[in-house]
Symmetry: C2
Subunit: 120 residues, 2 copies
């Protein structure tokens, strides 16, 4: 069972967390990929946190997990904090194939997305 | 003269600001749009700020400005702070056509971009 987890920072503003959960839900319902499930987790300030979010999927049968950091820049969160939490889960479940993927802001298609918005 | 300004939050980490400036520079050098110039500005913590960034382009001849908020969620910055600074410039230069465009996180193509990253 292959699972994609979108990991965002988390916000005190619940509507911001809901935007991330909604994006994960839209992807979960989409046929445009071969993941069996798409879910979200948060570094801080929102539920579930990264460890709990990944463990939940593993206990539900995930054998492959891909983690996409939903962050715009390669700051400390992307470079250190998110990977550190993911490492904890890898250590607990060494048999599960868990991979950190590139963060959102590094996507080559970001420029095209900005232009789409700029055109209105 | 038509100008696109990418407005980001700004960070104490200069490399994060540079990521935004680099994206604007890549778009500026691209032929994939009809803007005469693409530049960046920051809400706080980095230069130029929004008012200065827009005024610079107007003084250089911009007659149409499109502002794309480079933010993932519709928090206070997107809803209040960025528009408030843009309004100041509109008030100073009512003859210039300045428009706020939708923020990054609202782009319909965001899901596809996440999937691109998830595939590796």
């Amino acid at each position: 069972m292959k699972v994609l987890i979108l990991v965002a920072h988390g916000s005190r503003r619940e509507s911001s967390n809901e935007e991330v959960r909604r994006l994960a839900a839209v992807l979960d319902a989409s046929d445009a990929h071969d993941f069996d499930l798409v879910d979200s987790a948060f570094l801080e300030l929102a539920e579930p946190d990264i460890v709990r979010g990944l463990v939940k999927q593993i206990e539900n049968g995930a054998t492959e997990i891909r983690v996409v950091p939903y962050f715009l820049s390669a700051g400390r969160h992307v470079v250190e904090d998110v990977p550190a939490d993911v490492e904890k889960v890898k250590h607990l479940y060494p048999e599960v194939d868990i991979q950190m993927m590139p963060y959102l802001g590094s996507a080559s298609a970001m420029g095209g997305l900005v232009l789409e918005l700029a055109r209105g």
